[in-house]
Symmetry: C3
């Protein structure tokens, strides 16, 4: 599978890697080990010692160095060998390394040409970092679905009416034609459903909500799989900036062509000091995602098998417009990257 290489992927939430810890993760079919140096800066190496191919993640961190658990070679975050108990340290002893950058509570990794890894290219998810802890939750899972199938799921929120009828659905998205805007580095899709019932989940959290509300949902997608999702509800006719708004993140990083790391986070503009509410929302999200989205996407992947999405000739409906825009946008980026790599004779493999 052709992955987009010259881009930032989320490799982990920042909290997943404590001092002295090693985190093994397969990203874009590559085994990576993540850790922090003494200053807390993240680093990422190929998770395979160049000597005898032991996973470095089966070793330990000693100061700024990852020490292989098999024969004791040590490597710095740069990939350079920093310790060889058996003889001199030579320059050819390095292990491949990957640029990393911590931002917006996440650790981002650049797996393409390393000299192009510019942190300024990381999408702005600063709302995650600025949210108070009582209005923030996050999580992540590995699921057996291609990353684009996960993106499709968010780019077409009409699925909430069928897959989540008792929680997120039933608030008027079906039948609402969304507005789609494609710009240089993102695709936006917005549904505005006036005079609708609040979703069962929101109605449960706020029994005093009026029976008729206006409801917006907006997704902004950044390549390759970063999505900000805003869901806002206000009494019918109210202004959007008075709405109860959830601003979430859905971020997908390929593990393999048929499995993905899914990172999600939730923030909101109401009850921001309410830790109990925060917990209720996190629990609901875990339940919905774990028992409805994840199983459905894994079933879809199972039916698709190893086939390419387009080769299966999907029956496209109006609701697929945004997802198809995103698929084409990403395909174009990959196409350009491969063409440029061909020109340079250095296609990432």
């Amino acid at each position: 599978m052709n992955y987009l290489r010259n881009t930032w992927y989320v490799a982990a939430w920042g909290h997943e890697i404590g001092p002295g810890q090693l985190l093994a993760r397969k990203l874009l079919d590559i085994h990576v080990v993540l850790f922090r140096d003494d200053a807390g800066r993240p680093a990422a190496l190929l998770d395979r010692c160049p000597h005898r191919f032991a996973p470095l993640s089966a070793g330990h961190v000693d100061q700024d160095i990852v020490v292989c658990g098999y024969h004791g070679l040590g490597f710095a975050g740069s990939g350079a060998c920093a310790r060889n108990p058996h003889g001199p340290v030579l320059r050819n002893m390095a292990v491949p390394s990957f640029a990393t950058h911590e931002a917006h509570r996440a650790i981002w990794i650049w797996m393409g040409e390393q000299d192009r890894a510019d942190p300024a290219l990381i999408p702005d998810l600063s709302y995650l970092a600025s949210a108070p802890d009582t209005a923030f939750s996050c999580g992540n899972i590995v699921a057996k679905g291609n990353c684009e199938v996960f993106v499709d799921n968010i780019m077409d929120l009409s699925h909430t009416d069928y897959l989540h009828p008792t929680t997120l659905g039933g608030a008027g998205i079906t039948g609402t034609r969304p507005t789609i805007v494609e710009a240089g580095d993102y695709v936006d899709v917005t549904w505005f459903a006036p005079n609708t019932r609040p979703s069962p989940l929101l109605a449960g959290l706020f029994p005093d909500l009026p029976a008729t509300t206006d409801f917006w949902q907006r997704v902004r997608w950044f390549a390759p799989g970063v999505m900000r999702l805003t869901a806002a509800t206000v009494a019918a006719g109210g202004a959007e900036d008075e709405a109860l708004a959830n601003v979430n993140a859905h971020i997908v990083t390929p593990e393999t062509p048929t499995s993905s790391h899914y990172f999600f986070a939730a923030t909101r503009n109401y009850g921001v000091d309410d830790a109990a509410l925060n917990e209720r929302i996190a629990t609901a999200r875990e339940h919905i995602f774990g028992t409805e989205d994840k199983p459905m996407i894994e079933l879809v992947q199972a039916r698709m098998g190893d086939a390419d999405f387009w080769a299966l000739k999907p029956l496209l409906l109006s609701i697929d417009s945004a997802a198809v825009r995103v698929r084409r946008h990403l395909a174009k980026l990959i196409e350009v990257e491969v063409a440029v790599g061909d020109l340079h004779g250095d296609v990432p493999s």
Copy 2:
């Protein structure tokens, strides 16, 4: 693998599909979903929504329609789209469907050219339907063995003496040369073992049986994997129509080249009102099949791996005559089907 396509396969026992239920089953490498319309008639669709490839079996039945659980598209038993909450219903929205017919307590499916699906071609297993409930039992399993290995197992009942010595064996089949008759659409094999002991299972059920009996076993095979097995025991010298007779069905439908759906049913001509006896026989059959036949066939398949049976150069013995006839009969049918398909340029894929 080349399967015979233009033929009826058993997809399920009728009782497996209740009103409003969806049954997912892989048949001939194809994911199928079975259900009943409001009139109770069975229907079978490709178990993959043409929109986003969700299994339709993960949805629900609403009146005569299967509704996809992901985005709400609905399909009739004909495969035609019958509901689209997101826009108009168009003719190209159909999902492939398969002809079905309920007969002899089973639901049969035709996976080849649909205009050739004639219920008159279903083998006559009416003895299953006419048996009283107290003289009938059935079941089905999925097992990791090629369908022809399961057929071989029944076409050579000498295996009962070695695989089932404490139940079905020891009644004189080894050493009895069977009579084989091959006709247009079936192969018959009959063993007649006079002056033999009754099988341990029968002797256990009927302690008063004479120590010396005459024993017949007959199998009639219909392509591709439907077998009627009669086992009859009478006091030595007695007439066959006075015998205690079990008339069973063994029906194999390919799931994949190395796994099969195995459907079995039992009827008898004695103690037909004896529900307790019925239960004892069903329990014994489940035990014998589950702990002896199924494990052995799965072991055979494991040793065969993905290899073709003939490529492994089996050492054929006299006891294989009927099974080899059946294999050749089926191979011929498949060969003709493929040749005709090639002529028409429409080989089933």
Copy 3:
């Protein structure tokens, strides 16, 4: 994968096959069934009945014959058919057999050209047979690692300092340049570490050991995967023949290209009548191997996947000298065997 064929492999420890027992084992990708004849002599057959491909190991032993559990064919240890309940025994009914020889408490198997199976070619491990039971223990496991990765592990004992720091390591092997001797049919590697601490395991067993000791380790490798490992500790300056010495065996037989049978045995020259000590050593070895070596080697294999070791361009260090000698020695033997087979047109497949 090219295995060396014309050589003896350990198939089992002798105690694994009792009278009347069948032992199924996959060796060099071939399913083999092992048993003993009435005189107790071992025999090995292809574990697949030539008739219907049932594993013979699913049958039983009747006197000197393995009887297939499916249709009752019986085979002698020579592979010749010795029983056919369904008709005459013909010469073409044989199953392939493999030469076996019991020596040094092990059952050896020759899977290449059968007329070349000379027991004189079995490496001399007579120290295993002559050890008293109270100074001997052995075991075996199947692990998911290529056999050469297991051999590498023993040929470079510097790994003990990193993988086993609390038991076998820390006794001065790191930094000790070993002496390597390659002879006609073996490779020897010896480390001599004077004035070192005893290993934590030994210090735990013998609290009165001096704090400073001389420590030897020697491995003699015989193709394809038989290793005798001697570890000897004496008070600094003492003579080697006064040392506490463990003389162990590490024997690897390929199961598949990525999995191996690992046979290990331990003997010693101290406390040879001490059954409790024997048990403590056996327990420690099981623990070290099961929780440290085996997991590490399986992780290494997982990172190597199906790739050839050299294709992955390992970073060779000085500590790899003996292991590399062994790999090249074995590669040369296989190369010659394949070339000779090509000449004769009878390459073992």
